[in-house]
């Protein structure tokens, strides 16, 4: 209980490194979510709208990729952005860009799959109305995303939730560098292992708060969609 009290006082006391870590985490997660959403939502909508051969295979692939563990995604990206890898000259490894790239790759299949399955709940008459009014595929995609914005919001939130809570990619690609790539989850992994529970716990509280907020917003989106 004492540790919990200390954890709260760390937060309330505005201890700079703790808050910096929180801000950095959110910064990485927000950017990576943006980069995951830009291709993910249109792709999800395209899968939903498209009538093409191999669609089932494509959907199954997206779902399969979604289940790949974070450390595998981390390893994969690592092999690309290492200085001895093909994208080495960009110097992304052990830098924020590397973490954001890895997290975006992590969230991308999730956002795609969630958009796809979410849009399936959308009234099929929207698509038929767009078709009958002569909307071309590109316009249909935009209109479907617009009409399905509440499920899209959920997909985006799910992506954000996944990258905020993950540790494998952040650790492997960020290197847990103080004042640079240290995030809430890598700090927890590091501090808990060192027996320093106060900061780990205070960050755990923040992560819990983030998760609760995401759930709450997601719930609002579901309610408003009706």
């Amino acid at each position: 209980m004492n540790a919990l009290g200390n954890a709260f006082s760390l937060l309330a006391g505005g201890e700079r490194e703790t808050w910096w870590t929180i801000a950095t985490s959110l910064r990485f997660s927000l950017w990576s979510t943006v980069f995951a959403v830009i291709p993910g939502v249109p792709l999800g909508a395209a899968l939903f709208l498209g009538r093409f051969k191999g669609k089932r295979v494509a959907v199954a692939m997206v779902n399969a990729i979604m289940a790949v563990p974070t450390v595998v995604v981390g390893l994969f990206v690592y092999s690309f952005i290492s200085r001895s890898g093909p994208l080495g000259s960009l110097n992304m490894l052990y830098a924020p860009a590397g973490v954001i790239a890895g997290q975006a790759l992590l969230a991308f299949p999730l956002v795609t799959a969630m958009s796809y399955t979410g849009l399936q709940k959308l009234d099929p008459r929207y698509n038929e109305t767009l078709l009958t009014l002569g909307a071309r595929p590109w316009r249909r995609m935009i209109a479907i995303i617009r009409e399905g914005r509440f499920v899209i919001v959920q997909a985006v939130l799910a992506g954000f939730g996944r990258v905020t809570g993950e540790v494998g990619v952040s650790m492997m690609l960020g290197g847990n560098i103080r004042w640079y790539t240290r995030t809430m989850t890598t700090t927890i992994a590091l501090d808990a292992g060192k027996g320093e529970f106060e900061r780990a716990l205070s960050l755990g509280i923040v992560l819990l708060g983030v998760a609760l907020s995401i759930n709450f917003l997601s719930h609002l989106a579901v309610r408003d969609a009706r």
């Binding site: 640079y180 292992g193 027996g195 609002l220 408003d224």
Partner: protein, 294 residues
Amino acid sequence: MHLTTKRTFVRTAALAALLVLGAVQAFAMGGKETSASDVPATNRPMPANPRVRLATTTSTENSGLLAYLLPFFTEDTGYTVDVVAVGTGAAMKLGENADADVLLVHARALEDAYMKAGHGGERRDVMYNDFIVVGPKADPAGLKGSPNSTTAFSRIAAARASFVSRGDKSGTNVKELDIWKAAGIVPDGTWYKEAGQGMEQCIIMADGMQAYTLTDRATWVAVKDKTSLAISYEGDAGLFNPYGVITVNPAKNTAINAFGGKAFLEWITSERGQKLIESFKLGGQTMFFPNYKH
């Protein structure tokens, strides 16, 4: 829920997300306000590439040595050091892949092999301390009074007392395996636990399991208050623990910050760097003894 509210919801959500992004971007970019690097250094030119990546063993980070030294380095040279704290083996692998600019490690045989393979630019001695065996206060395997480290290890194996190994090719792990080899023992069985974690984590684990483990003294002093363990064996000349600094061979990759790596090597072996190492104390004790011969 009517449509006006629907529109408002999504727009508000998007606006809130943007605001949060702006806020955290600003805050995170602000970085640390009170570090030594913010002290204006009048006569130093700003380096072209001011970020140096140092791959190092966990002991230099966990003991607090780097947190103590690096602000001075930044103040003197303008370089910011990104510390990637892994085991010595992993640090050298990073160097081999050109994913680090400079290494601070402690496994002499590996270091020499690394230089021989052409992965390094320059190697210098930096400092030393010693390894110790820590374990339960009751000392169930009776390590106290062992004549040397190999005997101490033999007693652990004979008693089948729990032992936590780093198991990560770190400098400490390499040293540990050398001692088992010298004792003629192949550590095997449920009592021998390969953790695959950093030094500090291993000590915490050993505390949880009431096991023995081999550690460098600096990490032990930094962590000991969080544990119920005690030093079980120390003082053997075979437990000497020297640290070396190695610049990664800049010919390996153009992305390597060759100037930054060289600056770190020069600085940490300079008179000022060496003095600062000596002045780093935990519990009134010097943790690392500088030993670069000019």
